[in-house]
Amino acid sequence: MSVTPLDAAGIGMPVEGTSLWKNARRRLLRNRAAMGGLVVLTIIAAMAILAPYLSAHAIDDISWDAISSPPDFAQGFYFGTDSNGRDLFVRTLYGARISLMVGILASIVSLVIGVIYGAVAGYLGGAIDNVMMRIVDILYSLPFMFFVILLTVFFGRNILLIFVAIGAVQWLDMARIVRGQTMALKHREFIEAAHAFGASSSAIVRRHIIPNLLGPVMVFVTLTVPQVILLESFLSFLGLGVQEPMTSWGVLISDGVKDMETAPWTLLFPATFLAVTLFSLNFLGDGLRDALDPKDR
């Protein structure tokens, strides 16, 4: 046994390194449900991006001779048309653009702000935590609709406002969850050990707290995305979200509900897309949580 510090001769030997992310990717790739979800989401996203090239009709083309027509492949109305004679296929894909964008962007906003805010409040504790969480409480108590209406009055109607409004509200839940988890983690011995080995506070939060938060956070994000998509539908339904002729899944579904008895396809197709997307997101979220937990190999 020899103690030779920085012995240059010994360095040549490669040691296989496995990082959390590398392992997680490998485990995710092996999870069939999660990979299925990922593939479906990728296909829907690709279709949304390529929407103008996939259909012969534009989003606001009105075909007077095909009002509320059932799916008709000869004319290129794959999903039929709505009560205004507009192609439902292209509208569903355009709707996917808005819904996925809102869902993903608002979730990322809530993830980033919520995790940082919650981790800092929980880790620092004491008076700082108190002030930070009271701010969250105040924001919580603002009525959401009032907030959105206020924003539209000040800035006019704009799709960006939906992101701002939803993002500003969604991070509050995340911050609370993360704070609670951080407070529980903070007193674990390995955090104390990290202090004893001279790690700075920021290093402890980055290296030790946040990775240990990933499990619950990941589950919460997969719950947030569908929630946000539904919230956007609600806003659009009230006329505060996207405006005609632009559309989203929420708008399409609420239109479809009106014509459900005479033209069921107007409800069926957008609702199927929404349901499949939400399913896929849940499978992917479950898979990610399992993949990120080293105990679950």
Binding site: V3, I11, M13, V15, E192, A193, A196, F197, P211
Partner: protein, 337 residues
């Protein structure tokens, strides 16, 4: 065994004891009032020395360590003086303290099950210490981590580096903790009940390992335990703590064969011995440890002491020297067995 003995200049600068703790008082502000966990503890640790701190739960032994390491919770505060290699640790800014913690002063925790981050591999946790403090490049850090795992007798160290803590046994994890402590070759290793959470068979191995590491690196060790057997095997000097004070200190053999404080004696008597006849009950110490929020004015052990006199209840007996290197805090001049 080839050991590189050249110490960097900063390790040899200061003469005298490595650690001087003087009149350390640690208090906690709780909703029920102030709790004094440590009440004026003073001791020194020389280079290469192993000292043991013994006492039952709540005697303040762990809080002495936490005060030295600057790991007290927010409601705790220390007064007095803790000098490490000539530098005052109490009140030192965090960023300066962080340069000492981990590199010159390391700590081994009681429960290896919880003291390792479950989300990082053994290799990541070990190399973190090196890259963080010494800015070692990752490949070198990995090689050093592998070497140190080999030193603590972990088989297939290269493979273990890629494993997560939950894939290792308890004894293995404690070895990893020791490896982490030894990684930067600290001058002082603080071990807080390092064997309490382990099987008896593993305990002996871990203690041997600590002794072996000390022989190689010349580290000073402070070992805190409530297990007198652990102290007997490893330590040069022992301090017995009760109610946040040192009640007796001296060389380990003297303490064991000639305890001079009633508490030390009671503690030794309540330890099972293999050479005693096994019939009969093991003696216990009657009564409860003192409530640290409401300490009696006199000797903290007085309510449980069988030699108690009126004098004991009036004032705290000072720690006085009874022989070279030996001291006790008791009004009795001589404890007759």
């Amino acid at each position: 065994m080839t050991v590189s003995q050249e110490l960097p200049a900063w390790k040899t600068g200061h003469q005298g004891p490595l650690l001087i703790v003087d009149q350390l008082v640690t208090r906690f502000a709780t909703p029920d009032g102030t709790v004094s966990a440590v009440n004026g503890v003073s001791f020194e640790v020389s280079k290469g020395e192993t000292i043991g701190i013994v006492g039952e739960s709540g005697s303040g032994k762990s809080q002495v360590l936490m005060s030295i390491m600057g790991l007290l919770p927010h409601n705790g505060s220390s007064t007095g003086s803790v000098q490490f290699d000539g530098k005052e640790l109490l009140g030192m800014p965090r960023d300066q303290l962080n340069k000492i913690r981990g590199t010159r002063m390391a700590m081994i925790f009681q429960d290896p099950m919880t003291a390792l981050n479950p989300y990082l591999t053994v290799g990541q946790q070990l190399t973190e210490v090196l890259t963080y403090h010494l800015s070692t490049n990752p490949a070198m850090a990995r090689e050093q981590a592998r070497e140190v795992l080999e030193q603590v007798h972990i088989p297939e160290p290269g493979k273990r580096l890629g494993m997560y803590p939950h894939e290792l046994s308890g004894g293995m994890r404690q070895r990893v903790m020791i490896a982490m402590g030894m990684l930067c070759r600290p001058d002082l290793l603080i071990a807080d009940e390092p064997t309490t959470a382990l099987d008896v068979t593993i305990q002996a191995e871990i203690l041997d390992l600590l002794a072996e590491q000390q022989a190689v690196t010349g580290t000073s060790i402070i070992l805190v335990t409530h297990d007198l057997g652990v102290v007997a095997g490893l330590c040069d000097r022992v301090m017995v703590m009760y109610g946040g004070r040192i009640v007796e200190q001296g060389p380990v053999r003297d303490i064991f064969y000639n305890p001079q404080h009633p508490y030390t004696r009671a503690l030794l008597m309540s330890m099972p011995r293999l050479d005693d006849d096994l019939a009969g009950d093991l003696p216990t110490i009657a009564g409860q440890p003192p409530n640290l929020a409401h300490m009696p004015p006199g000797c903290a052990f007085a309510p449980r002491c069988s030699f108690v006199s009126e004098q004991c209840r009036l004032a705290v007996p000072p720690l006085r020297e009874i022989a070279p290197g030996r001291a006790k805090a008791c009004t009795l001049d001589r404890l007759v067995a």
